[in-house]
């Protein structure tokens, strides 16, 4: 954006910057606390109220969680499921969203309504489990992906973005002999990169956070994704269970371990966004139109 050099413009920019900086600081402080907590000793964590910079540094928590290969295996599962899942979901979602974005399609309203309806009404855990079981997906990685392949919310948002593309572009492409598939892949998708990036991020985060489906559909604990491990440690460390303090010789995991697992399980997905950010740059649409 060309700079506005007037006094009003500068004041506006300064106020805006300061406000955002304060907001960013407030949002990030607790996360810094968690990161700092993971690098210190449980004694310091218990003694001080809100650690931001550890006085005593310690890698004990990380040594503990990396001392077996479980976390690597779980991380591998999560990365794999997230990558494959996001691809599958984006493919199916984009196809459906594009089809439904065309206003001249007979029956689109019925289908659209059907999709919205599924956001409101759910059959419940057990009937869905039966479908997954009858399709033979139990104990397969596919059970983490296929039963949640399309999110109604994401599909509707993507369809909305597609609808905003000027119809004239599609018309002219059609005259040039492009098929509907051609239009989608050669014109619509490249023009919608911010939207594609956004929806991909939404899917990636959903797959990364997979927990309940893994517990329900996977009997083999070797296939569990990282969230199962994360939640298990967080719950144990928070002492929510009354009954399992059978033997005090093995106390619940330390708070530092809890924080270290949060850091390890969150960092990979946090890193996705900065990579996608370039697609949010201005003029992405114009640039591709010219290209």
């Amino acid at each position: 954006m060309v700079e506005d050099r007037s006094f009003g413009g500068r004041l506006f920019a300064a106020v805006n910057f300061t406000l955002l900086a304060i907001i960013a600081l407030i949002t990030v402080l607790p996360f810094i606390h968690v990161v700092a907590g993971s690098f210190t000793t449980s004694a310091e964590l218990a003694a001080s109220k809100f650690v931001l910079i550890p006085k005593v540094w310690s890698l004990e928590a990380y040594k503990f969680i990396f001392s077996t290969n479980t976390i690597f295996r779980a991380m591998g599962v999560s990365v794999g499921v997230t990558l494959v899942g996001t691809l599958v979901s984006m493919f199916l979602t984009a196809l459906m969203a594009y089809g439904l974005s065309r206003r001249d399609l007979d029956g689109r309203k019925v289908v659209n309504f059907m999709v919205v309806f599924t956001m409101l009404f759910h059959g419940g855990m057990i009937p869905t489990f039966l479908v997954v079981k009858e399709l033979g997906l139990i104990d397969t990685y596919a059970s983490l992906i296929i039963p949640s392949a399309i999110s109604a919310f994401n599909m509707i948002i993507l369809r909305n973005f597609f609808q905003n593309i000027p119809e004239g572009l599609e018309e002219s492409a059609k005259i040039d002999g492009c098929s509907d598939f051609g239009i989608l892949f050669k014109i619509v998708l490249p023009l919608s990169m911010p939207a594609i990036a956004t929806i991909s991020l939404f899917y990636a985060v959903t797959y990364w956070n997979t927990y309940m489906t893994a517990i329900l559909y996977l009997d083999d604990s070797a296939k569990w994704p990282i969230q199962v491990l994360l939640r298990q440690i967080v719950v144990l460390a928070s002492g929510m269970d009354h009954s399992s303090t059978l033997d005090a010789a093995v106390p619940p995991p330390d708070q530092t371990i809890k924080m270290a697992v949060i850091v390890v399980a969150t960092l990979p997905i946090l890193m996705v966004y900065p990579f996608l950010q370039k697609h949010f740059a201005k003029g992405a649409m114009l640039g591709s139109m010219k290209g």
Binding site: L95, V131, K133, L216, S221, L236, S244, L246, A248, A249
Partner: protein, 511 residues
């Protein structure tokens, strides 16, 4: 257009299976879809290892490796498949497996609450009744009859129990503070109050600032301080007899006395002000950071882990345990749990016949020998623990135990009196004291008379109704309602189904 073809075949498959699915929900007569490891027909010869699939809650951060399992298989001549599922969401897994008839041969529940929920299904005949077979197994028949009785459904036994000491609760307190202020362990509830007051007002940590409190409590009436103190006051355990009828504990005057006790503690600032919103972690943190002097109501065996964290922060701290606190009438009392923490059931859908059931029971019979019980509870001797003075001393490598042994600990049937496993070897004086107090507690133990009883209304909405009482109790302790207000809530409880619960329990009690 591969996509299209594929999806059509999926659709076809889906439509075909739809009909199957709708009937599959009928459940009962359908042969279990995944007959839990029993696919290959077993010969009758006893030397072939029995294949058993076991489902149980996971209480460690990750599933344990095969170390213990392999030894266990050798000792019991079995081939075991352990399926662990996170304890936190175990009910969901249990319910969905149950509804789709895919429970394995051996199904551990999670706690007493899941057991109560399962009672309907048990009455319906979904699980094997094992009572008649018990006498055939020398070790299983050692299980304590009074606890077995607590786990019976309609007078029949369907489950084996995982034992727990009957009364582990008491006080863990700062002995160094008490010594400094010349206070003896509280002999009665008044002295307990005075101790809390002194810990708050007389600067026991000697830093010149009034920054300590007496009692730290949390948002739990049963496992927090309240229930333990209320039993010292003489309140019955859950239900008590009044004029020949069972009545809930909160209709007894001692319950009100206990609330007054905590109200006074709170008003005086002798306990944490936010206790109604304080989680266990936060309560423990307050204690281990050296801010509070009395931790009441938890298991006294927790002193080891509290001590470990406390001395990191306050190296000179000394902890001790105590539980013999007399009520205003000078009498001692301790509430007791029904003696079990969890039970294990044998679904008929997976265990096909009597012969298979007996083989599985044989496995559990062997589990109740000292050799196997020690393996599952303590691990491998020399690796996970050593024996000193005939007691088990766990290795200092706590992570190794957490990783390899802890997952199996909560699945050992019985208790050390019946399965002969080692008692723990303790070093901390407070812990040794705790073990003595555990035995003292039982001598004045008060059982819950409704433990073996059944009430349909309680099963349907007992938890929801209990909420009314819990809320009223906290509100009373915070001074928001008075005695009349509390009694109004009790009336409310009765009106909304409590009366029926009283009626049903009394009907069952008379039998």
């Amino acid at each position: 257009m591969v996509m299209k073809k594929k999806s059509f075949s999926i659709m076809l498959a889906a439509l075909l299976t739809l009909s199957v699915m709708l009937t599959a929900c009928g459940g009962n007569e359908k042969p279990a879809a995944a007959p839990a490891g029993g696919d290959t027909a077993k010969g009758a010869e006893s030397d072939a290892p029995t294949e058993i699939k076991i489902m149980l809650p996971l209480n460690t951060s990750e599933t344990p490796p095969d170390t213990i399992k392999k030894e266990l298989e050798k000792l019991t001549n079995t081939k075991l498949t352990y399926q662990f599922f996170p304890a936190d969401t175990y009910e969901e897994k249990l319910n969905s497996s149950f509804a789709t008839s895919s429970l394995p041969q051996v199904t551990y529940l999670k706690n007493q609450t899941t057991f109560i929920q399962m009672k309907d299904a048990i009455k319906d005949g979904q699980f094997w009744e094992i009572g008649p077979y018990l006498s055939e197994f020398p070790n299983l028949s050692k299980l304590k009859p009074e606890i077995l009785n607590n786990t019976k459904v309609d007078g029949k036994l369907y489950s084996l129990y995982i034992g727990r000491p009957l009364a582990r609760q008491g006080i863990i307190y700062r002995k160094d503070w008490a010594d400094k202020l010349n206070l003896a362990p509280p002999a009665n509830v008044d002295e307990l109050f005075e101790m809390a007051k002194a810990f708050t007002e007389q600067d026991p940590d000697g830093n010149g600032v009034k920054d300590t409190i007496g009692v730290v409590d949390r948002n739990e009436l049963t496992y927090g301080a309240f229930k333990t103190v209320s039993s010292w006051f003489g309140t019955p355990n859950g239900w008590g007899e009044k004029d020949g009828q069972l009545q809930p504990e909160f209709t007894f005057p001692q319950y009100i006395d206990t609330m007054d006790f905590f109200k006074k503690l709170r008003d005086g600032g002798y306990m944490n002000q936010d206790f109604a919103a304080t989680s266990k972690t936060d309560a423990v943190k307050m204690f281990t950071s050296g801010k509070a002097g009395l931790y009441i109501g938890g298991s006294m065996q927790d002193i080891d882990s509290l001590n470990k964290d406390l001395i990191k922060n306050v190296p000179e701290a000394v902890l001790d345990t105590h539980s013999m606190v007399a009520g205003p009438d000078g009498k001692f009392a301790q509430w007791m749990i029904p003696g079990y923490n969890n039970v294990v059931l044998f679904p008929k859908g997976a265990v096909k016949d009597e012969a298979e059931l007996k083989k599985i029971l044989a496995f559990f019979d062997k589990m109740m020998t000292p050799e196997v019980a020690n393996l599952m509870f303590w691990g491998i001797e020399g690796v996970h623990y050593t024996v000193e003075d005939g007691k088990a001393k766990p290795t200092d490598d706590k992570e190794l135990i957490e990783r390899e042994v802890k997952g199996y600990k909560d699945s050992v049937i019985g208790e050390s009196e019946t399965n002969g496993m080692y008692e723990p070897y303790n070093i901390l004086p407070g812990r040794i004291h705790a073990e003595e107090l555990l035995l003292e507690n039982v001598k004045v133990g008060v059982p819950d008379p409704t433990a073996p009883l059944d009430s349909a209304t309680y099963t349907e909405k007992g938890v929801e109704l209990q909420q009314i009482i819990t809320d009223a109790t906290y509100k009373y302790m915070y001074g928001q309602i008075d005695k009349a207000g509390f009694e109004k809530e009790v009336e409310n409880w009765k009106k909304r189904g409590g009366d029926k619960i009283i009626e049903e329990y009394n009907a069952a009690y008379k039998k």
